[in-house]
Symmetry: C2
Subunit: 565 residues, 2 copies
C-alpha cells in the first residue's frame, strides 16, 4: 500500500514556495495586456487560452522587442535558463515595462523521470506550477492523440488493402506517448494473427519529439497548420516514392483534435507577470522553442517579450534564430547568455564534488565556453549580455574572472539573484537588456535559404561549432542530394548534436575547435519545414532512472499535489 | 493534400442542430442547481468541473430520485438510449422538476471509428457536442497517462533489477491508448538490445478498458481512489504470488495525474438541463456506467437524476444495479427500457433492409426481447416503464403490438419523439417516471455479497440470461477457487458477454432460453472491486472500419469542427 495522503509537502520545495503566493485571477493578468474578457477561455481560475478569433485581431499590430535567453553548454551543475527568463520578465515588469515571457510547456516524461518540471524555481516560477507541470490545458495530450490517430490510420490502411502501396519496412511515422518509457523504443506491432493486421517493426517516441509538435510550434495559423500536417512524410511506397500524411485522409480529424490546443496558453509568474507557455518540441531532432503563435501574440501585446530556447546557445539559440525567427519573420532584439560560476568550473575541468571549492583558474579556463557562445551570437548581429546566476559559494575573484574574459567581446556581466529574490534580483540585467534592445536591430540569420543543404550544415559546423571538418556518411550524402532534387534544398537545417559540447563528443567540455563533425543520417521534416542532420545517437524516447521522480509525487490530505520540482 | 477548410458542415447533422442553440454560461447552469461560483472550475464558457472541496460539502445531503435508462438487446437498427436519457431529463425540467442527467463521457476510439460520439442526437443532445466528443476536460487523457505511467514503472522496475521478482510472462497490466488501433492489440516491447530493457509480450487496450477507468467510476472520494489503485493486481512473481500496483511506488503520482479529472464535469442539454458527464468504462470487462462521484453529486443537487448504462439491460442494467448501486449504496427509483419498433422487428427476424416495411407479426415476435428485459428489471424490485423511441415509419398496429405484449407485465409504453422535438416529446414518459419514482422503493440487488462467486455467475445466468446451464473451463473453475481462497469471494461479478443476445451467441436474437453459458476465463479486478467472467472473445481494443469516421471530420473556414456525429 502506498498511502500518500499521509505525506507532507517539503516547506523548502519549489511547490511550497510557489504555493505561498496567491495568483491573480487570469482575467486580471489578461487585462494587464489589454486582452478583453471574451478574448480568453479560462481553464480554472489561473489558466487561460487566447481565443483564435482574438489572436487573429493581433496580427497587424506592431511587435514589441523580443529577448532571447540562452545559455552555455549545459553541465550537471545547471545554469538556470528558465529561472532567468522568468526573473528577467519580472524585473522588466518591476521597472515599469509592459513585459511578458514565453516558455515551452513541460512534458510528463521529465516530470516523472529525473529532470523534473519546467516552471522555474525558487522565487522565479510560473504558477500554478502543479497544473502546468501535469496536464496544463491538455496540449500535449492533444498532440499525442493527433499523432497516434495518424499512426492508427496508417495501420488501418495496410489492413484494408494498402491502396497506397506503402512499404511496411519503410514507414517512418512512429507512435508517441508523453512519458519516459524505454521499453517502447523498439517494438513489433500487429502480432496475433490476421485480425490484428500485418506485423511490422515500429516504436514510440516521447510526444515532444513528434513532428506534430514541431509544426504546432512553427505554424502561424490554423490554415498553415493544416497544410503543414498534410505535407508530413510518413513513409515510402515499394517504389520508394514518399507518402505524405494527407494521403491518409485524417488531417482534418487531426486538426479537429489540435484546434483548441493551438490557442496560446496564458498564466503568470509568482510576481504576476503574464507568461505564455505553449508548445515544447525536442531540442535535438526539432528546434526546441515555444510556439510561434504564442510568441507573436505576446509581441503584439507586450513591449518586451523574454523567451528561451532549449540546450546551450550552439543548439538552442542557433535553431531559434535560423529556424523559428526565419520561418516566422521574427527579429530578436537582444540575447542573454546564462551561466553559473559552478558550471564554468566544470567546463574548466572541475568535478561535480569539487564545485564548492573556489577555483579561479578553473573559472578562467571554463569561461572559454561562455565566450564562444557570446561570439557566436554576435555573428547573428545580436547585442549580447551575460547573466551570471548567483550561488552563495561564488567568490568575487571567480566572478571577476568571468568579467575579464568577456571584456574583449564588449559584453557586460550581470550577477543575478532572481532565484532567491525574484525580479528584484535581475533589475540591473533588465536595465541593460532594455538599453541593448532599444538599439536598431542588425539581426540576420547565419545562412541564406538558397545555400545548399550540405553547405548549410558546413556553415553551422564551421561558424558555431568551430569544427575543422564535416564528414557525411554515404547514405547521408545521398539523401541530401535526393532532398535537393526533390525541392527541399531551401529548407533550414535542424542539427541534432549532443548539447554537452560544441563538438559531437559529449565529453569535450570548454571550447574545443578543429574537431570533425560526423553527419551520420539526415531526415526530412517536410511539415515542420526543416532537414534534420543527426551527428550521433539521438534519443527520442528517454528512460526512467532507478528511482524515478514519480516515487516522490503525491496528493496530500488537503488534496494538494506535492513532490513536483 | 487534404484542405478541409473548404468543407462545409451538413445543415442536417447533429453538429449543426447542436450548433443552432447558444448554450447558457455554465455558471448559470450551476446556479440552477444551487452551486455557487466558487464551487466550479470553468473550462471555457460552457464546461466546468465541480471542485473537490465543494463535492465534499454534498456528502450529507439527502439524495434525489435516481432513474435508470436501459434498453433492449442492441441491434444495428439502434435504440436511442442516450437521446432518451437526455429527452427524459429535458422533459422533467419542462414540467417543473429540478432535474439533471448523468452520462458517460465519450472515447476518441468510436468518435474516429464507426460508432461516432456519445452526446445524443437530433434535438436531444448535450452541448458543446464537439468539445465533449473530443478532449472534453481531459479526463480520458489523464486516465491514459496514469495507466501508462504504471506500465512504464513496471518495465523500469524490470530494467533496474526486478527486486519484486516479477515474472515477465505473467504481467497482466497492459498499456492503453484512447483510439481504435488493432495493430496494438498484441505487441512485443523492449526490443533493440540491453539499453531498451527485456523483450516481452504486451498489448494495448483502449483507455475505457483500463481498470483505472473502472476505479475512477466506482471510487467515492480521492482517498478511496488511491487505496483502490494500490490494490490493482499487475502481475505475478515467479512463485505466482500476485503483485499489486502499490508495490511499484507510483500510485501517488497516478493520483496526482487523476486528481483534477476525478472532479465531476458539468455541461448542459440543448434545453439547458444540467448534465453531469463523467467517466466511461467499457461495458464488457467493466461495468459501463458513469462515475459514482458524478451520480452522487447530481443526486445531492437535483430531485430527479436520469442516467444510463451501457449495452442492453441484461448487461448494462444488471451491472449498474449489482455493481455500481451495490458499491455506492445507491437506491434507484425506476427504470426506463428503450426500444424501437424497428429494432423489435429485427429481434423478430426481419433484415435491416426490410425494416421500412410494416410487419406486425415480426414486432409481436421480437417484443419477447423487450418483455424479457422488463421482467428481469422487475426482479430487482424496480418499477419499469417502456419508452418507444418513435420513427416516422412506425405504424399504429405495430405500436399496439408492443403495448399488448407488455400489458401482462403491468408496464405501460410511451411513444416518445424527443429526437425530433426535444423534451416536449417525452413529457408523458416523464410524468409516469415521476409517479413510479415517488413510490417507496423495493429495490434489492440480485444476489447477496456472501454468495460464492460461482453461484453469483450461475444466478445471473439463470435469472437474467435464462441459461439452462453454466459451463466453466477447468482454468476458470480453478481461478474462482483461488479467488475465494484469497478472500475475494464477496466481490460482485462483472459479466463479459456479447450484448447482442441474452445468450453467449450474438446471432441468437429475441428471447432465447435454456442455452449453455460458457465461462471461459475469469479475471480479478481487485481495485475496481469485481471479478470479471468472460463468456467469449472480449475485444478490449477495437479496430477501425475501412472508411473511418475520421475521414469525415474537419475544421471549417470559420474554425468550427464538422463531421462529428
Amino acid at each position: 500500500m502506498d498511502q500518500t495522503s499521509a505525506r507532507r509537502i517539503d516547506p523548502n520545495s519549489d511547490a511550497a514556495i510557489a504555493g505561498s503566493v496567491t495568483p491573480f485571477p487570469i482575467e486580471d493578468i489578461a487585462a494587464r495586456l489589454g486582452i478583453p474578457a471574451n478574448g480568453i477561455f479560462r481553464y480554472g481560475p489561473y489558466k487561460a487560452k487566447l481565443a483564435h478569433d482574438y489572436v487573429r485581431t493581433l496580427e497587424e499590430r506592431a511587435p514589441g522587442k523580443l529577448i532571447l535567453v540562452t545559455a552555455i553548454s549545459p553541465t550537471p551543475a545547471g545554469e538556470g535558463k528558465t529561472t532567468t527568463t522568468i526573473g528577467l520578465g519580472d524585473a522588466l515588469a518591476r521597472i515599469g515595462k509592459k513585459a511578458a515571457i514565453c516558455l515551452r510547456e513541460p512534458s510528463l516524461g521529465p516530470v516523472f523521470g529525473a529532470k523534473g518540471g519546467a516552471t522555474g524555481g525558487g522565487r522565479a516560477q510560473i504558477v500554478p506550477m502543479q497544473d502546468i507541470n501535469l496536464h496544463f490545458t491538455g496540449d500535449l495530450h492533444a498532440i499525442s492523440a493527433a499523432h497516434n490517430l495518424l499512426s492508427a490510420l496508417i495501420d488501418n490502411h495496410l489492413y484494408w488493402g494498402n491502396a497506397l502501396d506503402l512499404d511496411t519496412r519503410r514507414i517512418s511515422w512512429r507512435r508517441v506517448v508523453d512519458l519516459n518509457d524505454r521499453a517502447l523504443r523498439q517494438v513489433v506491432v500487429g502480432l496475433g494473427g490476421a485480425a490484428n493486421g500485418f506485423p511490422r517493426e515500429d516504436g514510440f517516441d516521447i510526444t515532444v519529439a513528434s513532428e506534430v509538435m514541431a509544426i504546432f510550434c512553427l505554424a502561424k495559423n490554423l490554415e498553415e497548420f493544416e497544410a503543414r500536417l498534410s505535407r508530413m512524410v510518413i513513409g515510402q511506397t515499394r517504389g520508394k516514392r514518399m507518402v505524405e500524411a494527407g494521403a491518409l485522409k485524417g488531417v482534418g480529424a487531426m486538426l479537429a483534435l489540435l484546434r483548441d490546443a493551438f490557442q496560446p496558453n496564458l498564466v503568470q509568474t509568482m510576481e504576476h507577470t503574464p507568461a505564455f507557455v505553449h508548445g515544447g518540441p525536442f531540442a535535438n531532432i526539432a528546434h526546441g522553442c515555444n510556439s510561434v503563435i504564442a510568441t507573436r501574440s505576446a509581441l503584439a501585446l507586450a513591449d518586451y517579450v523574454v523567451t528561451e530556447a532549449g540546450f546551450g546557445a550552439d543548439l538552442g539559440a542557433e535553431k531559434f534564430l535560423d529556424i523559428k525567427c526565419r520561418q516566422a519573420g521574427l527579429t530578436p532584439a537582444a540575447a542573454v547568455v546564462v551561466a553559473t560560476v559552478r558550471a564554468l568550473k566544470m567546463h574548466g575541468g572541475v568535478a561535480v564534488k569539487q564545485l564548492g571549492t573556489p577555483d579561479v583558474a578553473a573559472v578562467r579556463s571554463g569561461v572559454a565556453n561562455l565566450a564562444r557562445h557570446v561570439e557566436n551570437l554576435q555573428k547573428f548581429g545580436l547585442p549580447v549580455v551575460v547573466a551570471l546566476n548567483r550561488f552563495l559559494s561564488d567568490t568575487p575573484e571567480e566572478i571577476e574572472g568571468v568579467r575579464d574574459a568577456l571584456a574583449p567581446l564588449g559584453v557586460s556581466v550581470h550577477v543575478c539573484s532572481h532565484w532567491a529574490e525574484g525580479g528584484a534580483g535581475a533589475e540591473a540585467l533588465a536595465q541593460e537588456v532594455i538599453a541593448l534592445a532599444d538599439r536598431p536591430s542588425a539581426f540576420h540569420t547565419l545562412y541564406p535559404d538558397a545555400l545548399p543543404l550540405r553547405e548549410k550544415i558546413e556553415t553551422i559546423a564551421r561558424e558555431i561549432y568551430r569544427a575543422g571538418e564535416v564528414s557525411f556518411t554515404a547514405a547521408a550524402g545521398a539523401r541530401l542530394a535526393e532532398m535537393e532534387a526533390a525541392g527541399f534544398g531551401r529548407l533550414p537545417v535542424c542539427m541534432a548534436k549532443t548539447q554537452y559540447s560544441f563538438s559531437a563528443d559529449p565529453a569535450l567540455r570548454g571550447a574545443p575547435s578543429g574537431h570533425v563533425l560526423p553527419v551520420r543520417e539526415v531526415r526530412l521534416s517536410a511539415g515542420a519545414g526543416f532537414v534534420v542532420a543527426l551527428t550521433g545517437d539521438v534519443m527520442t524516447m528517454p528512460g526512467l532512472p532507478s528511482v524515478p521522480a514519480a516515487e516522490g509525487i503525491f496528493v496530500d490530505a488537503a488534496g494538494v499535489i506535492g513532490g513536483l520540482s
